[in-house]
């Protein structure tokens, strides 16, 4: 549709309409599971296996999910799992930022033989399936007493988030003209002050984008908390699936309600820093 119309040309061509239809179909297809989850979360236990759209909605399920104390329906304390998730993911993001920002700055500014290989190596942690490392990790965690601890979860989740933070922020720092920090050096500021005073404020959009993305990645991680944690450090992703019963009765409507609740924190976070995010994602990606 971006092309200019020639005189006498019609705005709506068959091709354009067909393209729009394809887009709408794709859109419905990809959003349908989410819609289904919302509907299911509003259904009563009696209706949880039905497929019709007309039913009397109830918000009871959310209350039931949040009041789980680990004794009644399932073995899970959902509220505390939610809190644990916040602590684990928040911790992982903070650790990744604290170490990742200086690392990204160094990687962006200091080029040497093999620096690209090192960066690529770091990214390869993300290529390997988590299941590949989970067995040795499980053994190690058991041995050194990190199993089912929040510290252990923060430690393992930052493996997921750190490469993301470093890679996103490195390109931001690379796009930042070096002259700016050099000017600060000649103004009489040390390298550290120049970094804090000049470079850091200018990559704030990048930090917001990296923090959000890595928070979502950590939040959605399933394999690590499933294997390396239990009731103490178990996260919300694992807790959601507990409503499926695991041998006992499956509560599909409660699972859906739990999933809706679990999706809220990243959504709220995304909306709050959206302003930075939109600018940030485009700013870092394209070299001006």
């Amino acid at each position: 549709m971006a092309s200019e119309l020639m005189p006498g040309q019609k705005r709506f061509t068959v091709g354009a309409v067909a393209a729009d239809i394809v887009l709408v179909v794709w859109f419905v297809f990809s959003l349908f599971p989410i819609l289904w989850m919302f509907l299911l979360a509003l259904k009563t236990p009696a209706e949880q296996t039905t497929t019709y759209f007309k039913f009397s909605p109830t918000f009871e399920n959310f209350g039931t999910v949040l009041s789980q104390k680990g004794t009644d329906l399932t073995s899970v304390d959902f509220k505390s799992a939610l809190l644990t998730s916040l602590i684990n993911c928040g911790g992982a993001v903070l650790v990744s930022l604290a170490i990742g920002i200086p690392a990204a700055y160094a990687a962006g500014r200091w080029k040497y033989k093999g620096s690209n290989d090192l960066m690529f190596n770091m990214l390869s942690f993300r290529f390997a399936p988590e299941l590949m490392v989970i067995v040795p990790l499980f053994v190690i965690y058991n041995q050194i007493g990190l199993f089912d601890t929040k510290l252990g979860m923060v430690w393992v989740l930052q493996l997921v988030t750190m490469p993301l933070v470093v890679w996103i922020l490195r390109s931001y720092f690379e796009d930042l003209p070096e002259d700016l920090e050099q000017a600060a050096l000649l103004d009489g500021y040390t390298r550290k002050r120049a970094f804090v005073m000049v470079a850091l404020p200018l990559v704030r959009p990048g930090i917001a984008a990296a923090a959000l993305l890595s928070f979502i990645f950590a939040w959605n991680n399933y394999v690590f908390p499933l294997i390396l944690a239990d009731s103490n450090a178990g996260t919300v992703t694992v807790a959601v699936t507990k409503f499926l019963g695991g041998g006992g009765q499956a509560y599909y409507n409660l699972t859906a309600a739990a999933a809706v609740i679990a999706a809220l924190p990243p959504l709220i976070l995304a909306l709050t820093i959206q302003r930075y995010l939109v600018r940030g994602l485009s700013f870092g990606a394209v070299k001006s």
Binding site: P177, D179, L180, Q182, A183, A184, L185, L186, D187, G188, Y189, T190, R191, R193, V198, P201, L202
Partner: protein, 391 residues
């Protein structure tokens, strides 16, 4: 009171040569201009002096102290970057206050800071922009703020990287004049980088010419203009560029190949018959006449004006000397300067430069001028200022 000495400064970027063995001696309070095309290593030289580039070899000595390994913030130099390098998140006044607040360029009270910023912004005509952010300024204003950040505090050495390059022509000429008059500039050792030969000639106490990371010549503007070390230096100065013709030895004279332009070889210069020579004549040094004047101090040749282009006060002439040789000349106009006119081109001997013969595409060393005695350093030639005035 600070002099700057740079010895054998060398910096390679991988396999690319940044600078290669640069030696500079800048006296206290001197204004040195570094001139060269892009990629010649001008900015690298400047950043090496500032300590922003880690050099591979060589030393930087500021005020008698070896600064080669000293951090930039301990060198007490101020620099204006070609890219302005203004802090985008700070206003103009915050940008200007930055060097005063670091504590390493001296201690300044709030009042003192205000007074200094006030003085410098008034001088540069940007005092109405104090609360603006760099993104709200035009390029010319940004450049002046960048200059202001240098001038706002005393420094041992000022380093200015193309500080006028983004200004429009009028403002540039005005700023060029102002820059020289700034009291601070005349008292502080300054290294000024430019690719504009007019800036170099107008501003520099001395000019250093760089080519591909090497220092080709360093001398006063007059010497550089009248006795360029080689054809590269000669071509770097002047617009239109100097005419360089290949010439062969013909008895006791040099003859520009294919033309009647013949120049007697002065007694103090020897030219090998096999290599031949090159003859350089600046467009502004020629005079067109209706007929030969038979002036013994000049060399003359017949030509035909092919093309006349008006450049404001002057006209640029393309003169066909025959044999496929075209000479570019500047003239103030007049009845002779018309297309198709048959004229005589006359050039004073001291303004004819002789260079060694060399294959096309390479530069060659200057031997002297076409008159004995005026020789190698160009003494006795008309001054550059007089020539610039004529244009």
């Amino acid at each position: 009171m600070v002099a700057l000495t740079v010895k054998a400064l060398t910096k390679h970027y991988g396999k690319t040569v940044g600078i290669d063995g640069i030696d500079l001696d800048v006296a206290d309070g001197e204004f040195l201009v570094i001139l060269g095309p892009s990629g010649a290593g001008k900015t690298t030289t400047l950043k090496s002096i500032a300590g922003l580039v880690e050099v591979d070899d060589g030393t930087v000595d500021i005020g008698g102290v070896d600064m080669t390994l000293v951090e930039p913030y301990h060198r007490n130099v101020a620099m204006a970057f070609e890219s302005y390098a203004l802090y985008p998140q700070k206003t103009v006044s915050e940008n200007l206050a930055s060097p005063l607040k670091s504590g390493r360029t001296g201690k300044y009270s709030e009042d003192e800071q205000k007074r200094r910023i006030d003085t410098v912004t008034k001088t540069l005509g940007i005092n109405h922009l104090l609360e603006r952010f760099p993104r709200e300024l035009s390029n010319g204003q940004r450049q002046r703020v960048a200059l202001g950040r240098v001038l706002v505090r005393p420094a041992d050495v000022y380093l200015l990287d193309e500080p006028l390059s983004h200004l429009d022509a009028k403002l540039r000429a005005a700023m060029r004049a102002e820059l020289r008059q700034l009291g601070q500039m005349s008292n502080t050792t300054t290294v000024y980088v430019t690719h504009d030969y007019q800036e170099a000639l107008a501003l520099g106490d001395r000019i250093a010419i760089l080519q591909e990371g090497r220092l080709v010549q360093i001398d006063t503007p007059a010497k550089i203009w009248h006795a360029p070390a080689d054809t590269f230096v000669a071509r770097s100065l002047g617009q239109p560029e100097i005419n360089v013709f290949d010439a062969a030895v013909d008895g006791a004279a040099l003859r520009v190949l294919g033309t009647d332009l013949e120049i007697g070889i002065p007694s103090d210069i020897t030219i090998s018959t096999s290599a031949g020579a090159r003859i350089g004549i600046r467009p502004c040094d020629i005079e067109i006449r209706a007929d030969f004047s038979r002036n013994p101090g000049s060399v003359a040749v017949r030509g035909r004006i092919q093309l006349v282009e008006r450049l404001g006060r002057n006209v640029e002439l393309s003169i066909d000397l025959g044999g496929g040789v075209t000479m570019i000349g500047l003239s103030s106009g007049g009845p002779l300067a018309v297309e198709g006119a048959e004229i005589v081109v006359e050039v004073a001997r001291q303004n004819i430069h002789l260079f060694e013969g060399a294959p096309e595409g390479t530069d060659s060393r200057r031997l002297g001028s076409a008159i004995a005695g005026a020789g190698r350093n160009g003494d006795g030639a008309t001054t550059h200022a007089a020539q610039e005035d004529r244009r």
